[in-house]
Point group: C2
Chain length 194, copies 2
């Protein structure tokens, strides 16, 4: 990895950390350059526009999410335990780095602003929903979930539960946010069980 790519990774890590807290449009090149102790122009040279930087941050966050949440879930046994591993890693990744989720904030920031960033957010979420639905489908074929259950509806509902978690945890600082989330997931799974 050349020196350019190295600092690029450093910048992206710092940018993702800022975007987790301030949001993707609140992320400014000045503050980011200040954070990594570089000049604005030196940093800017690595990306050729702010939009490209934002897209790079999204790609970075996506890879982090897949590594920390999706892959451990896929490594877990099929069916309910896989879904529970997914939620467990998802909650853990939000708790350990004391920050929100870039995607959750970016989704509300860009849902009314057409462009490549919005398009990417839509693609990412579609992929996530498809991953969850697929986990649910293997749970059906394993005989753990009811065959007449709707995998897409399950994915939608599970994501709603996670949105509720982020809200309770980040805004309300609810000390029982994790507990409430697990109770909601329990109910979702109980309704899906055979």
């Amino acid at each position: 990895m050349g020196k350019g790519e190295l600092t690029r990774q450093t910048v992206l890590a710092a940018a993702a950390a800022i975007a987790d807290r301030i949001g993707l449009s609140g992320l400014t090149i000045g503050t980011l350059a200040n954070q990594v102790e570089m000049s604005k122009s030196g940093l800017f040279g690595h990306f050729r526009s702010k939009e490209a930087l934002q897209l790079a941050v999204l790609a970075y966050a996506r890879e982090s999410f897949v590594d920390a949440v999706i892959r451990p879930a896929i490594a877990a046994p099929r069916g309910e335990r896989r879904v529970r591993t997914l939620v467990d890693r998802w909650l853990a990744v939000c708790l350990e780095r004391q920050a929100g989720c870039v995607f959750v904030s970016a989704d509300t920031e860009f849902d009314d602003q057409p462009g490549p960033i919005r398009d990417q957010l839509v693609r990412d979420h579609r992929d996530l929903m498809e991953s969850i639905a697929q986990m649910f489908r293997t749970g059906i074929s394993e005989g753990e979930f009811r065959p007449d259950a709707d995998p897409e509806q399950f994915a939608h509902d599970l994501y709603g539960v996670m949105l509720g978690f982020f809200h309770a945890h980040r805004l309300m600082r609810d000390p029982d946010a994790v507990g409430r989330t697990w109770r909601a997931v329990d109910a979702l799974l109980a309704n899906a069980r055979i």
Copy 2:
């Protein structure tokens, strides 16, 4: 109502409409002044800071929400029908004005930025949760819901379902967002019924 208060209301209505789409921090005095065809300084005079403007927008949105969603629900018969009226009005108010919800976006924008705006958002959400929990409690005393059900958990879960709706509707433009939401609410109510 004097002339000052009149234009103030006009400004607030336009500001709320903008904040619904762009968010509360994306709402800028320049664009707002341009929208209502006033000068920046003329508009600025009605509020004495941007933060005061944002708080006023939140108050305006809160009153609108109470009028359009909470009050119709309270006017409905106790128990499950009241909860369903709440959801119905909530969905309707988001569908008719083709826009998002100020609170949903503001919650993720300000969840990491301490100050009076965040404090107000926390208060507003606490009030909303208390209203929903209270509706659920009267449902229990009416004998419609299980006495051992947790009203606060129900409020939390219902809000998660609504967050899922906003996400599916605004970002994903899911044509079945309303359908998915009702199925999720049905499941929530089915689990709560006696």
